[in-house]
Symmetry: D2
Subunit: 328 residues, 4 copies
């Protein structure tokens, strides 16, 4: 039984608490939040203690923490939790600065604590199935990876301004997925981008439509395209072309009913909300974290994976700025 403290009782903290409640070998022991009411509500529905972040980190009965607080607090919470010997489940991004992530790696490794970077998409049953099939050799050598990823709608421009930009805020998930699928480190990044969805995003210095080409030392190629808006839902697809075949994952729809009328055959839109779309992924992710910590094996994606994704996002942003490919 793993006793877990939830740091941050917002939307994502609630999701993780729900995942823990579904596990036989873990429980939500304590929760904390800057807003007491949020902590109280979450505690009540899970029969957990309302506490402070300091108390949770200091409590020897707590084995692990889930860090679901704002990104700029991750650095300190990781340092404190690692020093207190807690296993750490940290939401992505670990930090907006690669150098600060390197600091976090240092403290995590010095204190030898388990650490999982919350790239939830790796745990999506379909994406995970594809990665396992690749590893099993089902399609031979990976040659071309195509990732099509579009959000249902753009966030407010105010959010955009503090988000670090499309590459660090949105494409970072796809960049991590590329590493997960390619099975080889990326050596070059080339990015293009435009502001086609919302001119305010362009005025704020960001793009809302972008495409990246990644290559590896052995010549594997990955193409990613992003849009901040897809009228038909949260578009999350990928396919891997290999020497012996191809694997692909299509969108999950709101339901699977087909309706035929004089207009033709119609199905529902793709699931819109990321928490619904990745509900299964979040559950599997938490189960993997808990099982790993209890077994004493390192969970994945690691904090190094968190760093590599950030380095790729930085490289994509630099490529867009300079108009030239960036070699890593």
């Amino acid at each position: 039984m793993l006793n877990i403290g939830i740091l941050g009782c917002g939307r994502i903290g609630q999701v993780h608490a729900g995942s823990i409640a579904g596990l036989a070998n873990a429980r939500v022991s304590a929760v904390s939040d800057a807003f007491p009411a949020a902590a109280e509500a979450l505690a009540a529905s899970h029969n957990a203690q309302v506490s402070t972040t300091e108390q949770i980190i200091a409590d020897p009965a707590i084995d692990a923490v889930v860090i679901g607080t704002p990104t700029d607090t991750h650095y300190d919470l990781i340092h404190q939790s690692a020093r207190a010997g807690k296993a750490i489940f940290c939401e992505k991004p670990v930090d907006m600065s690669a150098d600060r992530i390197r600091d976090c790696i240092k403290v995590v490794e010095e204190n030898n604590v388990a650490f999982l970077t919350g790239f939830n998409r790796r745990f999506d049953p379909n994406f995970a199935h594809i990665q396992a099939a690749i590893r099993a050799g089902d399609i031979g050598d990976v040659e071309i990876l195509t990732i099509l990823s579009r959000d249902p709608s753009a966030p407010p421009v105010e959010y955009i301004k503090s988000s670090g930009g499309l590459f660090r805020d949105m494409m970072i998930h796809d960049l991590d997925m590329a590493r997960f699928m390619l099975g080889e480190e990326i050596t070059q990044v080339f990015a293009v981008g435009s502001s086609l969805v919302d001119p305010e995003i362009g005025k704020a210095g960001d793009v809302d439509t972008a495409a990246v080409t990644l290559t590896t030392a052995s010549g594997r190629i990955c193409q990613i395209s992003n849009s901040r808006r897809a009228t038909y839902g949260y578009d999350q697809r990928l396919e891997v072309h290999g020497s012996k075949g191809m694997l692909r994952a299509e969108n999950l729809l709101e339901n699977n009913v087909e309706m035929a009328t004089a207009d033709g055959f119609a199905k529902a839109p793709a699931q819109h909300f990321f928490l619904e779309r990745y509900q299964a992924a979040y559950s599997v992710e938490m189960a993997h974290f808990v099982d790993s910590v209890l077994a004493g094996t390192p969970p994945a994606p690691s904090i190094h994976d968190g760093l590599q994704a950030q380095i790729l996002a930085d490289a994509a942003a630099l490529s867009l700025e300079t108009g030239a490919p960036v070699n890593l």
Copy 2:
């Protein structure tokens, strides 16, 4: 090179002439029609002779005839053509009366001429692929056959009145398909039916919505359902459940483009027109007829298949009338 005479230059005669034009080992030598203009137009586009039915049947240079004239003329044309030693491609139904088909069988067999009953759907590439897979044992023993067959829209009630009714006019195709797929003769027929599409059809003594259950001696089961109207096109599907698996054929759509919008994912309606839907089937059917005649092997479906389908249609009509299953 097989020299073919086309008897009847209407819509179906034109289709068969077109199929012959695509073959390297056959040609349209002569055509006849009650309306001279129809014969002349077809002859011109195929560089063939305009002739009379009598001349075609009497012409020793003609090897085979395609009978595409009204059903009530089939009986005489089959008799004349068989006696003249022509190979015969006859549109379905051979005749509306099982007894008269038996007469035709007699003359065909006495004169030992090749005969193909035009159940075109057997030659649809998907249905033919399924039947070949069944025969190859891909799904083990056939257990349940499901045929979903709906026309895009009901014919005029005047047509209905002279059509012999839904079972003899429309479901006869499905009854032949059932025999083709089941691989065993049918021993019992139970039918239900209603007039839901057009009340005038009901007043004319026919049904426009019907379902039939067929069983065989070994216990195989087939369910067929028909409607005279499907808003989404010409609905032609079937599936076969066997001891080792299942095979099915879905509809062919007007195109394969998928459009995604806020309303969801949309595809085109099913192809509406039977000549478009079964274009490939008509071509393969004619190629099979020509190849069989040239090789001296019997084409299929035979005139016996034409008789059996008629017997099943009669049984379905009787079952609907009596409300009880009919044993064969």
Copy 3:
């Protein structure tokens, strides 16, 4: 907050307890089982009391009971629970005898307690979506309903012997679904059946492959086919043909990945296990029960629905025995 007692802690009792745990407005207060160990395990994981059935029914703090015990105990538990004023969630079938279900209806109505018959499939999101679309008029008038329902594999013949036969044990779900979708009571039942899957089932006097034709007063038609074995998983499909269009639900697969190789395009089998296949349905079902009881509105499907399905299953069995349609 609805306090619920679980009567029977086997597989289905555990499923319902899990559904309750996911609800904010209900909780598992007490559980009972003939095997104390089963009750203790379920109580522990839900922080509930281990109790006896008698105590639960007598406890005024318990608002509702979930009856998940063997079918032959339902009759007494319904009587006791109704007299104690409990809301009742009863697994299907209510009882194997229509007359005994009528007794249960009497006691439920006399005591004016809420009652839900556990036809879980009505709550499957896809089937429920179809029924709602029908009710909304999206496809006009219902004309033909087709239900294809096959189990992954046949149960042991010992189970078959006490099951009441295929119609009462397996097809009863489809018969209820037919009533749910047709929107009109069924007036005639015709059944055929064979033993093709396992000859032992035939020797035990049952069939393992069956097809039923249902008709309503206005002429709507439903065809159902069942097999006790589908190599490709738990096959659960239906489609509704209406005057304005068609709605259908396809199978849910183990995952949605497509793999392309030289053999073609491949997807995973259908989900095999009914608890996995209908997991979402069970959750929605319990939520509906809890919400209805708390709101004081009658849950559905009602005990009358349980009776009607049993009457249809009895009629199908009689039709198979007599070889003739049975009018209701």
Copy 4:
């Protein structure tokens, strides 16, 4: 009635002759080929004259020529045919050199003859439907175009050496398609490529796996990826993401039958052979050429389209060589 001369009776000449035979308003009048036997066979099956290229071009009774000879002969044949006033249907590429294509444009324009560049894929019914839907505004403004294009298997390395390389030989089709769909000229090309399929291709100085990123002045983005080998057939897909929705075309399979077994659900591979895959496209292409010439309207794609595609292919090759994006 358009009288057409076929120059070159190889595989593609035969395809075009077959398309013409299916048209009511055109006919194959004469054919020529360096190999007399090829010309004779094609003439026989179409009742046409065997002739020489010079005679065909000089014959005033011939309205149009189809140039299906080797690429290095196109330049002279275009000059001669244009000066003789023939309408010209020329296979792609017009020429391997952009400058030489500019010469051809000059002679075509000076002589004011109709000219169609044989980018057959524009006439594929699905791709054409997508382009028409874009033009109709169905998905709003085009933002991201994704083209996935893989050949079933790599050609012999000897062919590769004289092919002009992957960009000029294979991707040129996709580059033309990009122009067709984007609705705006391309201003930047960035290419990456590797030799992953056949090391001999790499030794010959070419790539067999490549990806290109195209951008337009308004910020539209296109990603193309190519492989010389796809085990599952001729992979030809594209999708267009727009401000109001998305359109996509999937592969055409060898048949549409689905087989379900314990391994899951299986469909046939994609059609392998380009003449089969694009059979419908070739027919529509020829019909468009004939109709345009008869109507006196310019056919499309024009010779300018042929030039632009060549310029893009050259730019892609240069980008691969230099490792930098190429601005146009």
